[in-house]
């Protein structure tokens, strides 16, 4: 505590009333209170918005008032600055006036001077300091930064080179959250295998039965009955010794496999009558060919032509002549030979010659009207379609696997649409298809093919864990796997759910390996991270952000604070002063009091 001013001084004629007021503790308290109130305002009123945002948020009248009173940016307003200057003047004059040159007053002197020092330091930084940011790409350097506020390019007289940018991540962490809907209670449960948790205020309980640190769903083919509901065979095609291809064929779904490389097509049929069986095994029909469809609605014309490059034809009843210029099974790979293209996005390019000259267009089988909508066409009345069967192939060899209700099993070998050979097959046995160099093995036959989804362990490192939980509740016990990062799992009564989600921070740290190059020479290198910046020639480079879509660039914050020494001295002096006043002075005073006694 400072001593109350001596009454004699008050009467001194040299002192004006203004000086007295400037020195007074009263003014200090007033300034402190006003500062505190303005600080509150600065956090209650949104700062630095655009005038439109203010009007939307607070209305016309208040906005006008805020703007007039500079409440829209309190901490950079004139009145706030004046308040701070006034505080400094008050502190200074008060210190000068009350200094009695005694040991007990050291704290008073230090604290008051320190505040003035901090203000001066801040003022220096405000005037001469710099602040901005710059992104540096890995393996590149920068010799400038963008100033905060106006993004003006400010040159640096040295270069900062980024050798490497590293993001360190935490191993993934997961937490299990239980939720009781009717009570709206959410509670995290710790995941310990074998542990049973009773959920508070409810009659649910959760038991953790197993944990896989890294799991995934797998689709396991299963046979669910002996009735031929969905007959399927697992076929392996062998070359000289190794498997060339293998997979499932479904009689009622995708029953074919085309292998253009080996000029081979596999088919699978399951039939329940003799007639069909005979037909399939003994005869062979031509495969469907790609066709071009031409439709002229207003003339009632709807025709199809087999696509052959170079073919041309006239449309009867019209003046149009059409020539097929180009055909592709896979439009994006159309420069490859046709045989090497997979049936992916078939398209045909045609030229239409009519009364107004020629018109060329592509027709896509997947997007029939695409060309017409996206491009200017001359003949809008013609609609062109490219029709390619899904199972279209150039292969001239076919292996047709056929099976019937009497469990007769044969393979017909067809070459150029002629049945060459018919052999019987058995599950698990290799069938020699004479002369072709290929062998077939029907490894499995499922009359009722289905897939079972099950959780399998992928590895032992924590990545995407799964837990096996048993939930007990009003509808009995339910056991299920819960995978991390999947939607919540609900108990059958739809009132209780478990969610296994990622928790905690993903990013542990980001670091930039920086080098400062001055006059062509590396003068300083340092790996910076948050809380550990690089300092060079008055500038400080902070790790502030990073490329969110990869690790290509590092965001640096650049600052220059010439006043920081003053500010920090103020800080130290303030600490010393405050500690002196409240922790040292009372003891000194006590001592002197004792002496007096």
């Amino acid at each position: 505590m400072t001593k109350v001013a001596n009454p004699k001084e008050k009467k001194s004629e040299n002192e004006s009333k203004i000086w007295q007021f400037l020195c007074s503790v009263k003014l200090a308290v007033i300034i402190i209170v006003v500062l505190a109130v303005s600080c509150v305002l600065g956090t209650v009123i949104l700062q630095q918005l655009t005038p439109e945002e203010y009007v939307a948020k607070y209305g016309e009248v208040l906005t006008k008032f805020f703007t007039a009173a500079q409440f829209t940016d309190i901490f950079h307003s004139y009145w706030f600055a004046i308040l701070l200057i006034l505080l400094c003047v008050n502190l200074g004059s008060c210190t000068v006036k009350r200094w009695r040159n005694t040991v007990l007053q050291i704290g008073f002197l230090l604290t008051h001077i320190s505040i003035i020092l901090i203000m001066i330091g801040c003022f220096i930084d405000l005037q001469l300091g710099e602040k901005g940011g710059v992104n540096v790409y890995e393996g590149k350097s920068v010799d400038y930064y963008l100033r905060r506020g106006d993004y003006k390019k400010i040159p640096l007289d040295f270069e900062v080179f980024l050798d490497d940018f590293i993001i360190e991540r935490h191993p993934p962490k997961f937490r299990l959250i239980s939720y009781v809907k009717d009570k709206d209670i959410q509670k995290p449960l710790s995941v310990k295998v074998g542990e049973k948790y009773n959920i508070k205020n409810s009659n649910y309980s959760v038991t953790i039965k197993d944990l896989y640190p890294d799991a995934e769903y797998s689709q396991k083919p299963v046979n669910i009955s002996d009735e031929p509901v969905n007959p399927a065979v697992y076929v392996q095609m062998f070359g000289s010794s190794d498997i060339k291809a293998e997979g499932w064929l479904f009689a009622k779904g995708r029953n074919w496999y085309n292998d253009e490389n080996h000029n081979m097509r596999l088919e699978y049929f399951w039939v329940d009558n003799e007639k069909e069986f005979e037909k399939l095994t003994k005869t062979a029909e031509k495969g469907l060919l790609p066709k071009l469809g031409i439709v002229l609605e207003d003339k009632g014309i709807d025709r199809e032509f087999v696509i052959e490059t170079g073919a041309n034809f006239t449309i009867e009843g019209t003046e149009y002549k059409i020539e097929i210029k180009e055909f592709a099974l896979d439009y994006t790979n159309r420069t490859k030979p046709l045989k090497d293209q997979l049936v992916n996005n078939p398209a045909v390019r045609i030229e239409i010659v009519g009364p107004e000259g020629s018109d060329t267009r592509w027709a896509f089988s997947k997007y029939p009207d695409y060309w017409d909508k996206a491009h200017q066409t001359k003949y809008k009345d013609i609609r062109v379609a490219c029709k390619v069967p899904d199972d279209f192939t150039f292969a001239s060899n076919k292996m047709r696997i056929v099976q019937n209700q009497n469990n007769e099993k044969v393979i017909s070998y067809i070459e150029n649409d002629k049945v060459i050979k018919v052999v019987n097959w058995e599950i698990g046995k290799k069938c020699e298809i004479g002369g072709t160099g290929f062998q077939l093995r029907i490894a499995k036959y499922f009359p009722s093919y289905s897939v079972q989804r099950e959780v399998v362990k992928k590895s032992d490192t924590m990545n995407n864990p799964a837990i096996l939980v048993e939930i007990a509740g009003p509808r009995g016990k339910v056991e299920d796997w819960i995978l991390g990062q999947t939607p919540a799992t609900w108990y059958p009564d739809n009132n209780f759910a478990l969610l296994y989600e990622r928790s905690g921070m993903e990013i542990k740290d980001y670091k930039s390996k920086l080098r400062v190059i001055d006059n062509g020479q590396t003068v300083l290198s340092k790996t910076i991270e948050v809380n550990d910046p690089l300092k060079y020639s008055g500038y400080v480079f902070y790790q502030s952000s990073y490329d969110p879509e990869g690790e290509k660039y590092s965001g640096l914050q650049v600052t220059k604070n010439p006043g920081i020494v003053v500010v920090y001295s103020g800080f130290i002096i303030l600490c010393v002063g405050v500690v002196f006043i409240f922790y040292v002075k009372p003891f000194l005073r006590r001592k002197s009091n004792k002496k007096e006694r």
Partner: protein, 286 residues
Amino acid sequence: MDFMLNITFYAFILGIVAYIVREVWRTGTMRIIALGVLSGALLLNTILVLMRWFEANHAPMSDKFESFVFFAWSIALVYLIMELVTIFIIKVHGSRLGIVGAFQCVLSACFLYCAIGTDSTIKELPPALQSNWLVIHVINYFISYSALSISFSAAIVYLIYRAIYHGKAQEIVMKDITFDKLAYISVTIGFPFLTVGLITGSIWAKGAWGTYWGWDPKEIWSLINWLIYLAYLHLPLILPKTKISKSFRPILLSIILLVAFPTVIFTFMGLHKLPTAGTSDHIYAE
């Protein structure tokens, strides 16, 4: 952990009862019992803090749950130190702190109760918090807040006494009711820590964000708290020069403390309610 937390919570509840009984019965035995209960509760709380430190592998003051437990601990610790100092070093009679102990137990129990309802999973520290400044900065603040909480309790007690002995100022002097002085002393104990906390925070911000003062809501509110207590400390210098009567002055100061501590609590845990909270770098948990 949950079990320990509950036990500690009930230990503080027991502490409240012990301090109230002590205030009614004022015997030497009761004083020792109350001190013992508080020490026990503090010990349990210490174990909680240490367990968490060991489990989380970082200073247990980074998220809401950890800071609640730590705050409860520091409130009990600072009060216990203060009581021990009054009994054994300054050797003033026991009623000086009196019922304040019960208030401090209430505060500790409150924060533990908050902790029980908070997500206690261990979270990794974000890059900005990975610094030694975390420990220095936060411990300073919690010691300060704890000392200031004593001033708050003492102010309440003083105002209650003044209400009871309404208009009988003489009686207050006779009964040696000095809770206004206790409140002032608590502020003088807490204020230096508040200052150091503010300064270490500023230095830390410079290292982590590149600016020692960025007008962040948390920074502003810490400054507001500092300014309020600064005003409180300067007021006794000017009050004698004003027309405010001598007997009303301590009431005015107590009322200021009554307002001041809630703003501290607001800075500690209420900032996400501010409209400007979106601009803050300090709000991690909400």
